[in-house]
Symmetry: C2
Subunit: 135 residues, 2 copies
């Protein structure tokens, strides 16, 4: 399967509209973690007529279809990124809002180990690990 969001969109049998094409391409090109307002701004640069409501509907659809992943970093708005990127986690500076991406195999093991330690059944569920550290 192609790595492009738009192609996966078609593969999923979703209708390909002008707006969806643009939202897909915006997120394809993004190397950050844009919120809906930002996605809309970037999309509007290509099609000034696109509405925020459509962006909201589109990212929600894409997320439910597994094309995008929704992130919530505690600032009240959702952020999105291409689901097909290599797996990674995030470290957020709550003072500055800076987002640090990283990959650490230990986290994966840790999550599974902790859940297992507590007798928790993992099948089909998504687990989010929230760790806090004050310095």
């Amino acid at each position: 399967m192609s790595t492009k969001i738009l192609d996966r969109c078609e593969t999923m049998g979703l209708r390909v509209t002008g707006q969806r094409r643009i939202v897909a391409e915006v997120l394809e090109a993004a190397d950050d973690h844009p919120d809906v307002e930002t996605i809309h701004a970037r999309a509007a640069a290509r099609d000034p007529g696109i509405s925020v409501a459509t962006v909201y509907r589109t990212v929600k659809l894409f997320e439910e279809s597994g094309l995008l992943e929704r992130r919530e970093f505690g600032d009240g708005r959702a952020r999105y990124e291409d689901a097909k990127r290599d797996h990674h986690d995030h470290l957020i500076d709550m003072q500055t809002g800076a987002v640090i991406e990283f990959v650490d195999p230990e986290i994966e093991a840790l999550q599974e180990r902790i859940a297992r330690r507590l007798g928790y059944d993992l099948k089909g569920h998504r687990l989010e690990l929230f760790g806090t550290k004050r310095n």
Copy 2:
């Protein structure tokens, strides 16, 4: 310093009102992670006249004073817990909303190590670690 929220509230020089006393006691007694609506419900059981606005103002004040810690688990509402409890982190089941508390010294080291690896200055900042795992 006493371990009771109310005492720390006084120590901080905050005015002790009937409502603040109740909110402090509600969170003192809580062994879960109540959101504002829940805190208000529990508080209203003692003083039916207490308003949600006051609960919002109080938990915010307490958080800024370091008496409480605010948590956001991705469901759109903030949750609070006593800041003086032993340090721990959280694992959330995004399907059921189940909150699993755990302590794991590796997470601490991991957070510091990752930030350091990236040349990030930690001083005075609070870092949140967000890890995702699908099963």
